[in-house]
Assembly symmetry: C2
Homo-oligomer: 293 residues x 2
């Protein structure tokens, strides 16, 4: 059996290879946008969403092959959201994962279209799934609902409108559960849906995702205050600078760290309801709470 | 039986009502983006794509109810593409359908997100379809393929890269078949797919769409040279001003008009292979070639 690091690396390779397959259009007439899509979607990222989706699918009796189109779809949606977030009319970020952001490397026009292209390609991958049609259609609906106004995108709007304003914890938690939580929720639920299990398992996956999604965002907030710029690959202190309320500015770091650890422990317990082939998902769950980037 | 104008008006009302249903989220925390989405998607537009989809679905034995989610999806994708096209980093258009463009009315950030929101919501509508799952999934794939890099979006990239350069007819026709043709193609094919007919009918719909899509774009080109600004709701002469090659600048207006009429006649003949409840689609086909906006 593979150890954690080996299995993680194998996942990274498999996901990159599958993504490459979706982004290999060779028509030279529109290569500029394909290049920008590849630049932002390939070869980087922790692939947390894709790996969660595959692991939940396998924990419900499905296969990697069954999970992969939706795993790629989630990563393409994540990549599109980062491209559009970085645009000058949004966060105006010139750096992403330690290299020039998409618009900085390809210009605003191409970056805008590359984001649109990745979002659309995600649904091409989803609808091209060979899972039973009922499962694939429901999974596609889950993907759209969690990426759109009722999920990630709505959370993004709430986040933008909260800048420079006093934000209370209820409001902050709603924003987190949409902005970061929704795609993680989609990952866990879609894995189960594709494997064809019943509502009970899907609900357990949903509860796991709520906890781990919030822990993930709290750790992000902590890293923005107390992380290392080089390890992170992006500037730290941006939340404080833009007077943004986060979990780590609303509470002290100690409180935030404990909250992330408690959520992680609760998420871990939910995993006991699934049949795992190894300890990988337990370890991934733990590591998300103690990561440094 | 309803006359053409009455049936057309009834379609406009039905489509607007269905779109309103998809865009009625009431969570006040992200209302800004919902308002912008509604501003751009409701109450305007010729709804050619939606109506073609419904008409082909009915001509294959399907119902309006079956067609409506995808009809709305197409209109939302069309609306998203216009919002993003108008952005300062794209065409920088301040006017759309006779009123301020989305970014001019709501700001760039909200317009960007409204476009993203409409594109995502389109797939939410598609995947939420109650058509048989195999049909709905294939229709969703058709939608994504025609909206993405291999269709509308790729055509948009080719168009942008051609500005100010000499463009030959082969290149121009590839761009047209992708930029404008792809969504019209999706409309006709998806209508048939949802009704569950065989490949032969789907291919006929595809051939019809190729012809009518090209005719539609040629008429657009003619209107940009010889249209009336007030009737069009946007400035004319923009293609000539930006030194853009179009069918109407590559050939004279007489040639372009004849080409559009010939394509329309050929498209009309393909309709004889379908069983229509009335003459509506024939008349719509004719009117697309002689329209003034």
């Amino acid at each position: 059996m593979l150890g954690y690091d080996e299995k993680y690396k194998r996942y990274l390779t498999q996901i990159d290879c599958a993504l490459d397959g979706y982004l290999n259009e060779t028509d030279t007439a529109y290569q500029s946008v394909i290049s920008a899509m590849r630049y932002s979607a390939l070869g980087a990222g922790k692939r947390v969403r894709a790996i969660l989706l595959i692991e939940f699918c396998k924990a419900c009796g499905g296969t990697e092959q069954l999970a992969m189109p939706f795993a790629c779809a989630l990563e393409m949606i994540h990549a599109y959201s980062l491209i559009h977030d970085d645009l000058p009319c949004m966060d105006n970020d010139e750096l992403r994962r330690g290299k020039p952001s998409c618009w900085k490397a390809f210009g605003e026009t191409t970056a805008l279209l590359a984001g649109d292209g990745l979002l659309t390609k995600a649904f091409e991958a989803a609808a091209g799934s060979t899972a039973p049609a009922e499962c694939a259609l429901r999974a596609t609906l889950e993907l759209a609902q969690n990426a759109g106004t009722g999920g990630m995108l709505g959370g993004q709007v709430i986040d933008l409108e909260g800048e420079g304003k006093p934000v209370d914890e209820v409001h902050l938690l709603q924003m987190y559960s949409m902005k970061t939580g929704a795609l993680i929720n989609a990952a866990a639920k879609i894995g189960c849906i594709l494997a064809g299990v019943g509502e009970e398992k899907i609900n357990l996956a949903h509860r796991y995702a709520e906890k781990i999604g919030l822990a993930f965002q709290i750790v992000d907030d902590i890293l923005d205050v107390a992380g290392d710029q080089e390890t992170l690959g992006k500037p730290i202190g941006s939340d404080v600078q833009s007077e943004k309320t986060t979990f780590a500015t609303l509470h002290d770091l100690e409180y935030a760290r404990n909250k992330a650890l408690r959520l992680t422990k609760e998420a871990r317990e939910i995993l006991n309801e699934f049949t795992m082939e190894d300890e990988f998902l337990y370890e991934l769950t733990d590591r998300l709470a103690v990561r440094e980037n």
